[in-house]
């Protein structure tokens, strides 16, 4: 079935090639030698013709579909373990049975213990995959040069709130959010919020600012957004998996994304930053989320489309090793708080069969027709990786030995 999808893609490309060649004007004599190209099984073939290209060949070098180069290996029997990010954990639990349905010889143990332990365990070699919301720092990379951080998906973050009587998506920006979290803005009808939302009738409900009590990648990307957009926040609190949250009376620390959503549901006036995989819970609780001001000055709602736009904007800048922060880009229509989710993997695995199984699993995960399909990602509202990043991830995966 999936092979069918793939051959359809290939077929579509081939048809495209044919159309392109057919539209070329047929050239007459004199018969010069021309170099022509043809894409066959996603590999570019070259041939010299006298005069004109034969049918099915083009003078323009076709670009092979880079993703079709991603091949999922058929591994031997192996046991793999994964631990780490609680944001990726639900996705791993969706991926694992689907992958094992195809390759039952590989057993995969998943665990949601937190990004930090995921990285530490991958570094010490106790697990094969450490999942992380954040890429490795240069210090970690120099300490353990064999670690790869391979983007395996894109997540984004919503700012949810619980204001009685307000169902509209509020417009918020970094300055207002920083004002709320530093206690300068204490009521929902504060002029600063009202100025961004002239059409919304805001009540005088006190604001309760929720933050994560555990160190977390969500805190990291949220405070990065505040740091990028509000100089006062940048100088005083900066960003990190934990920050010294300003001591304001209406602040609450909650454990995990789930804790944030549940607390917001029962706390009138709350505001919280939550991973997008909790979207259905937020909506189910009757809360809604805000549109955020991006680097381009637009207020953008979080959605697969706007996050994909942001990801596409950062695609070109994403280095081969995937280490980039994608916050507050100057991208039209892009949602400003998105991030890659990483698989942290050691290049040197204990045996070649383990390495092969690991490659196979990760290849499966980044393959658009398998792991990256919305059939799986859609369940947690993740965004498919851009083409270039898939290719880069694939190159990284190939380094696992």
């Amino acid at each position: 079935m999936k092979t069918l999808v793939r051959s359809l893609t290939a077929g579509a490309l081939a048809v495209g090639g044919l159309l392109a060649s057919a539209s070329l004007p047929a050239s007459a004599a004199p018969k010069k030698i021309v170099t022509c190209f043809r894409l066959e099984k996603n590999v570019v073939h070259t041939h010299r013709f006298r005069g004109a290209c034969a049918r099915g060949w083009t003078k323009k070098r076709p670009t092979p579909n880079p993703i079709a180069a991603v091949k999922v290996e058929n591994p031997a029997q192996a046991n793999l373990t994964e631990t780490g990010s609680t944001l990726l954990y639900p996705l791993w639990n969706i991926w694992a049975p689907a992958y094992q349905a195809e390759f039952p010889q590989v057993s995969l143990t998943t665990g949601g213990t937190g990004s930090g332990t995921g990285i530490a365990d991958a570094a010490s070699g106790t697990v094969n995959i450490g999942s992380s919301d954040a890429y490795l720092s240069s210090t970690q990379r120099s300490a353990t040069p064999n670690l790869l951080n391979i983007p395996v998906g894109i997540s984004y973050q919503m700012i949810e709130y619980n204001i009685p009587g307000v169902t509209a998506h509020l417009n918020l920006d970094g300055t207002v959010l920083a004002g709320i979290y530093t206690g300068q803005i204490t009521k929902w009808n504060d002029p600063a919020i009202a100025a961004l939302n002239p059409k919304v009738n805001l009540p005088a409900t006190p604001i309760v600012a929720l933050h994560r009590s555990d160190g977390s990648g969500d805190t990291f990307i949220f405070t990065t957004y505040l740091t990028d957009t509000d100089p006062a926040w940048a100088s005083k609190y900066s960003y990190g998996t934990t920050v010294s949250w300003p001591a304001i009376p209406n602040a609450l620390g909650e454990n995990g994304n789930g804790g944030m959503v549940s607390a917001c549901a029962k706390t009138v006036g709350c505001i919280a930053y939550v991973g997008i995989s909790y979207l259905s819970s937020v909506l189910g609780n009757g809360q809604t989320y805000a549109a955020l001001k991006n680097g381009d000055g637009q207020f953008v709602l979080p959605s697969v489309a706007s996050a994909a736009a942001e990801a596409a904007g950062f695609q070109a800048q994403t280095p081969a090793d995937g280490t980039i922060s994608m916050i507050d880009g100057k991208i039209k229509g892009g949602y400003p708080i998105i991030n890659y989710e990483y698989a942290i993997v050691n290049k040197q695995q204990s045996s070649s069969s383990v390495a092969q199984a690991l490659r196979s699993l990760l290849e499966w995960c980044i393959d658009p027709s398998y792991g990256q399909s919305q059939q799986y990602l859609g369940q947690v509202n993740f965004v498919t990786l851009p083409t270039k990043v898939i290719v880069q991830s694939y190159k990284q995966i190939k380094q696992i030995q």
């Binding site: 240069s138 210090t139 602040a251 620390g253």
Partner: protein, 358 residues
């Protein structure tokens, strides 16, 4: 009580005469003696070895943090891991992220505050309970109730935390705290009970839940102590015309006072080290001391459990080292408290054998 030496002489010679040695010859019996003696000796060293191992790991891990954070660690406020992605800087030969600045004062204050609240709540309740169980109630009521109190000591703290955060906290925040906050006069000490009452997570709720957790420890020990007070002095006091309250205040409690103090300090040790329930109920504010008694806060133990994972993302290892330092601070506080308890208990009457978790 007959607590004289009941042990066998340690140097007993292997079997002098053996009229009833069944299948074992003298050699086998000597071997058995040796086996018992040596395995017991080895086993008794395990806790010491374990303790030494734990302290050594803590000290080694905490050493870089001790050097960089300095003595200000216990007085400063603010928990800033620093910029983990920038190039690390080196202070005193220790690499750490730029801007890393750790101050544990709010955590230490939170630990002490919750424990004091727990004690203030638990001590009178425990003594009252012990008194009711020993003096007031008929045995057929007192026995199951005593058992019930002991069961409470065995309930996992995560379950008490669950109840605290889902049921007790919201209940208190909705019905009790606002009442307290609006009726307390604005005078120096009681002012602490005024102001915003929060959402049920914070200092007072944590203290109360900790109190409930240590009541069984103090109450069951106190009950055992009360039962050991000989009846004669009490009967004598009653014969002199003392009321029950006067007997308790002037005879029973003074008789076992040091034992009660010991049990209380044991309870305090439990409250200081409690982790998961506080992590659920404290509201988790790392950077500042609670502004009033309803305010959100956190403790050293709860901080270790909630920050250890993200500390591992600090490539310099400085965040992990700082948590070791926090653990060391907590260990020092608990050890001081425990040693104090032992000293007090040992100084008191012999028959005190504190039960419950240490």
């Amino acid at each position: 009580m007959g607590d004289e030496n009941v042990s066998l002489p340690a140097t007993a010679a292997p079997a002098r005469r053996a009229p009833r040695a069944r299948r074992a010859g003298p050699f086998a019996r000597a071997a058995e003696d040796g086996l018992w003696r040596w395995s017991a000796r080895v086993a008794s060293i395990v806790p010491l070895g374990g303790l030494a191992f734990v302290l050594a790991v803590l000290a080694v891990k905490a050493w870089p943090a001790l050097k960089v954070n300095g003595p200000g660690f216990v007085t400063r406020s603010g928990w800033v891991p620093g910029s983990t992605y920038a190039n690390p800087v080196v202070t005193d030969g220790v690499a750490h992220p730029v801007g890393a600045s750790y101050g544990a004062w709010p955590l230490i204050a939170g630990t002490l505050q919750t424990s004091v609240i727990a004690l203030v709540v638990a001590l009178p309740i425990s003594i009252g309970t012990a008194f009711a169980l020993t003096e007031r109630l008929p045995p057929w009521v007192a026995r199951p109730l005593s058992f019930f109190v002991e069961v409470l000591a065995g309930i996992p703290s995560v379950i008490i935390g669950l109840w605290g955060v889902l049921t007790l906290g919201p209940f208190l925040a909705a019905h009790v705290y606002p009442l307290v906050a609006s009726h307390v006069p604005n005078v120096p000490v009681l002012r602490y009970f005024r102001g915003p009452t929060g959402y049920g997570e914070g200092l007072l709720t944590s203290g109360l839940v900790l109190g409930l957790m240590i009541v069984p420890i103090i109450a069951s020990t106190t009950r055992d102590l009360f039962l050991q007070v000989p009846p004669l002095p009490k009967e004598g006091a009653e014969a002199l015309g003392m009321t029950e309250a006067e007997v308790a205040r002037r005879v029973t409690i003074p008789w076992v006072r040091s034992g009660i103090i010991g049990a209380t300090v044991l309870g305090l040790g439990r409250a200081l080290g409690e982790t998961i329930a506080v992590a659920m109920i404290s509201g988790s504010v790392l950077g500042a001391v609670a502004p009033n008694i309803f305010g959100t806060m956190t403790t050293v133990a709860a901080t270790i459990v909630s920050q250890l994972d993200s500390a591992a993302t600090d490539g310099t290892g400085f965040a992990i080292a700082t948590l070791a330092e926090a653990g060391l601070v907590l260990a020092v506080i608990s050890v001081i408290v425990n040693v104090a308890a032992r000293v007090i208990v040992n100084r008191s009457s012999r028959h005190v054998a504190p039960v419950g978790r240490g």
